[in-house]
C-alpha cells in the first residue's frame, strides 16, 4: 500500500483515531518528564537559575521553525499531488506554529531581561523570529478570509511558497542589518563551548516532548478540519434540496 493512501480522509480518520491516544500519551509523558527534569537541574554558574528557561525556549523555537517547514512540505504536496488532507494539515499546523513562536519570543524576552538588561533587543535571531511570526499571522489571516475552501487551500499554498523564499531572504537581510548578542546554536558548536551534559539530556527530552506535542495537536486539529469540511459538504447537499 502506498503512503499516499493515508491522504484519503476516511482512511486518515480511521488510522489516526488509533494512533492519536499513543501520541498524546507519549507527548504528555515526555513534556512533563523533560520539564520536571529541567527544573531540577542545578543553576548555571553564569546564568543562575535562568538556564531553566532554556527547556521551554529552545524546544519552542525549534518547533516554531519546524512548524513552518512542515507547512511548506504540506503545501507542496497539496499543490503538486492534490491530497486534500495535506492542505488541511498545513492549515492546522499554522496556529500551533504561531503559538510556538510566541512562546519562544516571550520566554526569550523574559530571559533577556536579567541577561542583557532589556526586554527586547533588535538582535537578528530575535528579529527573524518576529518576522516568522508575521508570516504565520498573514498565512492564518488569508485562510480565514477566503470562503471557498478550494481556492483558500491553493492561495495559502502559493503564499506559503513565496513566503518561505522571502522569510529566508529576511533572515539574511536581518543578519546584514545587525550583528547580534544571541548565542549560536550551542548543540553543535565547537567542543570547548559544548553545553554541559547536565542540561543537554533534559533538553533533548524536552525537544522530543515538544515534537510529540506538536504532532498530537496537529493530528487533532487536522481531524477537526476534516470534520468541519465534511459537515460543510453535507450542508451544501442539504441546501441543494
Amino acid at each position: 500500500m502506498s503512503i499516499w493512501e493515508y491522504a484519503n480522509p476516511v482512511r486518515f480518520m480511521r488510522s489516526t483515531a488509533k494512533l492519536l491516544p499513543w501520541v498524546v500519551a507519549a507527548a504528555a509523558i515526555c513534556v512533563t518528564a523533560g520539564l520536571v527534569w529541567g527544573v531540577l537541574t542545578p543553576p548555571d554558574y553564569r546564568q543562575g537559575s535562568t538556564v531553566k528557561i532554556m527547556f521551554l525556549h529552545v524546544p519552542a523555537a525549534l518547533m516554531a521553525i519546524n512548524g513552518w517547514l512542515m507547512m511548506l512540505v504540506a503545501s507542496l504536496i497539496w499543490l503538486i499531488r492534490r491530497h486534500h488532507v495535506s492542505a488541511l494539515a498545513a492549515k492546522a499546523a499554522a496556529p500551533i506554529g504561531a503559538v510556538m513562536t510566541v512562546i519562544a519570543l516571550v520566554t526569550g524576552a523574559i530571559w533577556g531581561q536579567p541577561m542583557w538588561g532589556t526586554w527586547w533587543e533588535w538582535d537578528p535571531r530575535l528579529t527573524s523570529f518576529l518576522i516568522l511570526f508575521l508570516f504565520y499571522l498573514g498565512y492564518i489571516a488569508l485562510w480565514s478570509a477566503i470562503e471557498d475552501p478550494d481556492s483558500a487551500a491553493d492561495l495559502t499554498g502559493v503564499l506559503c511558497l513565496v513566503g518561505s523564499v522571502f522569510a529566508l531572504l529576511s533572515r539574511y537581510a536581518v543578519n546584514f542589518w545587525n550583528q547580534g548578542l544571541h548565542q549560536g546554536a550551542s548543540l553543535s558548536v565547537a567542543p570547548g563551548e559544548r553545553m554541559s551534559e547536565v542540561y543537554r539530556y533534559p533538553l533533548y527530552l524536552c525537544m522530543l516532548g515538544f515534537f510529540l506535542l506538536f504532532l498530537a495537536l496537529l493530528l487533532i486539529r487536522t481531524r477537526t478540519e476534516i470534520r468541519l469540511r465534511r459537515t460543510a459538504a453535507l450542508r451544501a447537499r442539504e441546501a441543494r434540496r
Binding site: 543553576p43 531553566k52 500551533i96 516571550v106 520566554t107 523574559i110 536579567p114 495537536l217 487533532i220 450542508r235
Partner: protein
C-alpha cells in the same frame, strides 16, 4: 526544594506564561475538535433521519 535563587521571579514568569499559552492552545484544539464532532454527528443524524 528547587533552588531558584534571585531569578525566581523570572523563571516562574517564563514557565507561567509558556504553560498558560500551551494550555490555551491545547484547550482550544480539543474544544474545537469536540464541537466539530458534535456538529458532524448532528448533521449525519439529520441526513440518516431522512
Amino acid at each position: 526544594m528547587i533552588e531558584l535563587g534571585k531569578y525566581a521571579g523570572t523563571v516562574l514568569l517564563a514557565y507561567g506564561v509558556s504553560l498558560a499559552l500551551l494550555i490555551a492552545l491545547i484547550w482550544h484544539s480539543v474544544a474545537r475538535n469536540a464541537r466539530a464532532r458534535d456538529e458532524l454527528e448532528a448533521q449525519e443524524g439529520r441526513r440518516d433521519a431522512r
